[in-house]
Amino acid sequence: MSNTQKYALGIDVGSTTVKTVVLDEQGTMLSHCYQRHLSRVRETVTEQVEALQKQFPDAEFSVCMTGSAGLGLAQSAGIPFVQEVHAAFLAVKHDYENADVVIELGGEDAKIIFLTGGVEQRMNGSCAGGTGAFIDQMATLLGITADELDALSLKAEKRYPIASRCGVFAKSDIQPLLNQGARREDIAASIFQAVVDQTVSGLAQGRQIEGTVLFLGGPLSFLQGLREAFVRTLKLDDEHAIFPEKAPVFVAYGCAMFAKQSEEAQPLAEVLAKLASAKTGGNTVTSEPLFASRKAYEEFVARHKSHDLPFADLHTAKGDAYLGIDAGSTTTKLVLITENGELLYQYYAANRGQPLDRIVKHLTSIYNQMSPDLHIRGAAVTGYGEDFIRAGLGIDYGIVETVAHFKAASYFCPDVDFIMDIGGQDIKCFKIRNHSIDSIMLNEACSSGCGSFIQSFAQALGYEIAEFSQLGLFAEHPVDLGSRCTVFMNSSVKQAQKDGATVEDISAGLSSSIIKNAVYKVIRAKSMEELGENIVVQGGTFLNDAVLRSFEMELGRPVIRPSISGLMGAFGAALYAKEHRPEQTKLITPEKLAEFTYKSTNAKCGGCTAHCALNIVHFPDGGKFVSGNRCERGAGKSTEHTMPSIYDYKYQRILECEKKPQGTPIGKVGLPLALSFYEQMPFWTTVFTKLGFEVEISRESDRDVYYQGQHTIPSDTVCYPAKLAHGHVEDLLEKGVDFIFWPCMSYNVDEGENDNHYNCPVVAYYPELLKANNPRLTEENFRLPYMDLNRPKSVTAALKACLKGYSLQCSPSDAVAAAYVAQEQYRKDVAAKAQEIIAQAREQGKKIIVLAGRPYHIDKEINHGLHKLITSLGMAVVSEDSVAALGHLTDKLGVLNQWTYHARLYRAAQYVTTQPDMQLVQLVSFGCGIDAVTTDEVRTILERNGKLYTQLKIDEINNLGAAKIRLRSLVAAMEE
């Protein structure tokens, strides 16, 4: 027996940090360390081990490694590895015997361990939303550190709903709030709330988080606001919410405990040798370097220099000038041009959440510098913050971004037929046909491949963005990171790092991923040739030469990048102001600007039952700007002239179905206001009231309904309409009904002209999932008979079996017969209403939009009031089901037309092609796999016949910014 000390060393290599813990033989913690590794994984581990070697020169260690980035290193270094959740599990069992649940948030991982009632460990899968990296990203967006974010959050007055599933969506929720002047304190708290929601819904997946909860990991130990959000949401008291002192290194602690079980011990020198000899490199796929030589790069730079704009001096220029502002999502751009298009003033910078302040500052600077003989004759603004800036500064025109960009691109390339704009937060692509915008492609569901993504990465790796992108130019083996969403990209980068890719290679790889994303994900071009002949690229991200070069490489030929690439929106706005020169500009005068201030407050709109959360910015002249409202009502505008929408009609019609039987009820049945019931409510209310039941319909959907059922959702990638169903079931259980009725139906009604008439798998069988995941549901209180509405006999028989024991007031077959009549009446009413709306619109010379989705898209929590947005733009709205019967497919479809709801889309699209004053807008719920099939087909039908295709993707996100751009572009295109 040697007399050297034997210690245990646990090394936890996370996605962003390295943690080490040393234990002695009694299990006492002798040393611990927590350090960001900035993706220098092996180096950081080595540094820490070297430090320990100095601290304990004579000891021998049993060593073990853990953590998401530790697996590869452990394997190649031949160091034992333990799964990180398992390591945490050991430590928890040792230190906190009475804990029921452990929640651990790390850099890119989130984990939950249920300890009582069957040990179960879960970690985030493909989705890294709601983790430390997410918080970092959000802090970056606000231009502050995570600690500052935390401090802000403690002063919050309200919380905004922010999509919690994925950082990408959260960003697109936060950005408009920032632009519209919401308080940063409130946003900070909302971000933490989103993290909590993600953990509760995404990770717990159907299991309640209750009892004593232990919180681990860096973010939860350092961020007070996050801790409070968890404690408040989970309704824990001090006794049941434990934040261990060791939290940041807790997993390393467990890992050390695991190591302690091992007999083997070695001096640290040996460990260091193993680390040094660890092979790196492996599975990572690499691609061609961006530039073969310096010379190639210089030629490239010279070529792009040719698209420069002439300058004029602001101090000396005379005559007329035009102001253009682009209030983008993360950046604010401003230009002042002369009558001849010369550049007098330019500004491009991150808005840090305060776009108005920036613009005021630079407008002031223009006024101070410009020569007395120069006169601003007009001003236009575009971008996310358009409404707000316009209201505040008296800008003459607000134009939609697509129009602004097209104007600017045509200036440089009159024959342009394709524009690709990659900004901080969005990708916008337009195809130009016949000198007008033909189709628009935006990134809504995914912001991967945008500037802000590279920026976050640069910062995570400890670089400034300019320096970081420069690094990639001469990388020898750029990493192929694929083309997927930011979250997935994070793990791809992690893997590349694990395999030993350099920062240079990663930088170049990210540039190439942006392009692949834009081309194959957003535009979904099959080949580069599809894009067009004359391509103009713009947006701040293309100022990055590595990105520009990647695009040219993928395309195989050069493109035009104007030197003012980042200012194109503002330039286009200025050109617009020049073309549409107002008689007298309303732009704020220098005098008024000097005393300009504003403040923002919150309110709840009382205009209708939607109760939108409003943000009101008050301007000094008494004017105010309201945002957050779905319709014009909240903005205090008159609603007299808005056009009708069949969505309102259908929704009311469903709610008003008869619920009382004649005579004394024989029982009370609950029908959920969800999925197929949004169409079949007339049928089922008729059946049950005829049979003598009183019908209780679950309450109207809102965010709370979602929260109410959130804990019973087993699959976080299912569509939002399905997720809401969980809350409706809970609501009916609360209301106290005898039983909830929800039939399973493989088939929907056969409406003809199709290959088959299925329901989608989710609509068909969702009751099975509800029954299996809501512990309150039993055979008795939840009845889900199988039936086929095309076969009345099957409906009658299923009902008989299902309602055994009740003394029904009439025979099921009579009730069913009456129900078919009622359903047919509903169909006829909807079709007639559509004709009435169409006639009314035509009388007033207004355009008509077929807003094509599914029956359940009339749910206002699902459609987020999109139809109101359309009517507020002066167009009438009808639905796919109300006009489908009028369409007849003349050409054979390129897909198997086998779902009833989706068959309507094709027929409605065909009908639209026969009506000159109609366009179709397709509503797509995120996660609807079937729409991956239908959207392309609907587009084909429309475009083949010269119609525009517009798609609006919707989720729990309730911000309408992107939808508004699309719809306004559609309006602009229709007017051309």
Binding site: M489, Y520, K521, S527, P714, G929
Partner: protein, 411 residues
């Protein structure tokens, strides 16, 4: 409209077939040869396959479609095949799942680039019926296919029970290769009909492989059919499990065939109809079930290896948790397989699916809670596959499941 496979093309064209199950599909394409079809299995697994998939299909489409179409497009562009003398074969299961649309997505992808390449739909549900098509699944071919599935299942299952324990590395693979060749020959005569005899010989040959005691952690793999079986789709999950010291347990392909066959009868009963399709499928099911029973009995009697699940037992398992009316995608079968595995001692289960798979929301992730309630030791992990999910992430999740399987004391 894309090109049609004419009878003349049998002479000129090579038919490319995407590989899903290496053992089974090799048998299947060799059966086709004597009937004049020159088939070739596509085993390409390069990154280009995924890239072509991303370029050619809607990126939200399920991963199997993306891979299969990517594999085809990669092959056509590779120069290895002349597009003028190449045809593509793709299976079409029918039913309310997106999978029935793969063939259309493939045709769309071909339209602008390889319009001359004909696409053949292989299905037994009467989709795309065309008597003038040069490719016809005749009764004799179908019958041989059925036998091939039975043999393929037996080989796959027994090999899985041997491989983790073989004393000499590669011994199992050698026996497997031997039988693969021998069965190819058997299908050229009527020898393949002598199932009992061949089963016994197969069992004996595998049993003769020197092995250690069968004591490793068994891990069942269930899920969407393509991802479950195809190493390309699941990042070589079987190999990974072997390297982690586990025994992979993979349910048979016949279960899926029987699941399809029985669903018409189930629908008939649920929705109150009876027609020729109910009758035909009912009879077909009876026949196949009898064949399965024979195989199970031989394996049981032989006594060395675990037999496949009896399909009627699977149906009974399903009934406890989910209605057999859930028949889109792999439907109730996934639930039943999870239950049957847990019950027969394979408590660790990996449920594989393409990211966002619609039926699996219900039958897989949606049923885990009730399965765990019924089998408290069940240790189930759901893993999503898509072009962006990295291996490290998937392996981490498997590791976590294994850490759970190995209970703290075992370590």
């Amino acid at each position: 409209m894309s090109a049609k496979f004419t009878p003349e093309m049998k002479k000129t064209h090579t038919i490319l077939v995407p590989d899903m199950l290496p053992v089974h599909f090799q048998l299947l394409i060799n059966i086709m040869a004597p009937y004049g079809y020159r088939c070739e299995l596509l085993r390409t697994a390069s990154r280009a396959v995924v890239d072509e998939g991303l370029k050619n299909v809607h990126n939200d489409t399920c991963y199997p479609a993306l891979l299969v179409i990517g594999q085809f497009m990669e092959a056509l562009k590779s120069g290895r095949y002349n597009p003028d003398t190449t045809a593509l074969l793709i299976t079409q299961t029918g039913g309310g799942c997106r999978a029935s649309n793969y063939i259309h997505l493939l045709r769309k992808a071909l339209e602008s680039q390889f319009p001359q390449v004909p696409v053949i739909s292989m299905n037994v549900s009467g989709l795309e019926k065309d008597p003038t098509c040069g490719f016809q699944l005749t009764a004799p071919i179908l019958l041989k296919f059925l036998y091939a599935v039975l043999y393929g299942d037996l080989l796959m299952m027994i090999a899985n029970q041997c491989r983790p324990y073989e004393l000499q590395k590669g011994a199992t693979e050698k026996v497997l290769q031997h039988w693969q060749r021998k069965l190819d020959q058997a299908f050229k005569t009527s020898e393949y009909m002598h199932t009992k005899k061949l089963y016994r010989q197969i069992l004996d040959d595998f049993a003769a492989i020197p092995r250690t005691k069968r004591n490793k952690i068994r891990v069942g793999i269930v899920g969407e059919i393509y991802v479950k079986y195809s190493p390309l789709a699941n990042n070589h999950l079987e190999d990974y499990l072997l390297s982690e010291g586990c025994e992979p347990v993979i349910p048979s392909l016949l279960e899926f065939v029987m699941y399809c066959a029985v669903s018409t009868a189930v629908d008939g009963k649920l929705y109150h109809f009876f027609d020729s399709s109910v009758l035909k499928n009912g009879l077909g099911y009876e026949l196949i079930y009898k064949m399965q029973k024979t195989q199970i009995e031989v394996v049981k009697k032989h006594g060395v290896f675990d037999p496949p699940h009896d399909f009627e037992v699977l149906r009974a398992r399903a009934d406890k948790y989910i209605n057999q009316g859930v028949s889109m995608g792999e439907g109730w079968l996934i639930t039943a397989e999870m239950a049957a595995l847990a019950e027969s001692g394979t408590e660790n289960i990996i449920c594989t699916q393409p990211f966002g798979c619609l039926p699996n929301h219900i039958v897989a992730k949606g049923m885990m809670r009730v399965i765990k309630d019924a089998y408290p030791n069940a240790n189930i992990v759901a893993i999503d596959y898509d072009p962006g999910a990295t291996r490290v992430n998937q392996e981490n999740r498997v590791k976590l499941m294994l850490a759970n399987a190995r209970k703290p004391g075992d370590l």
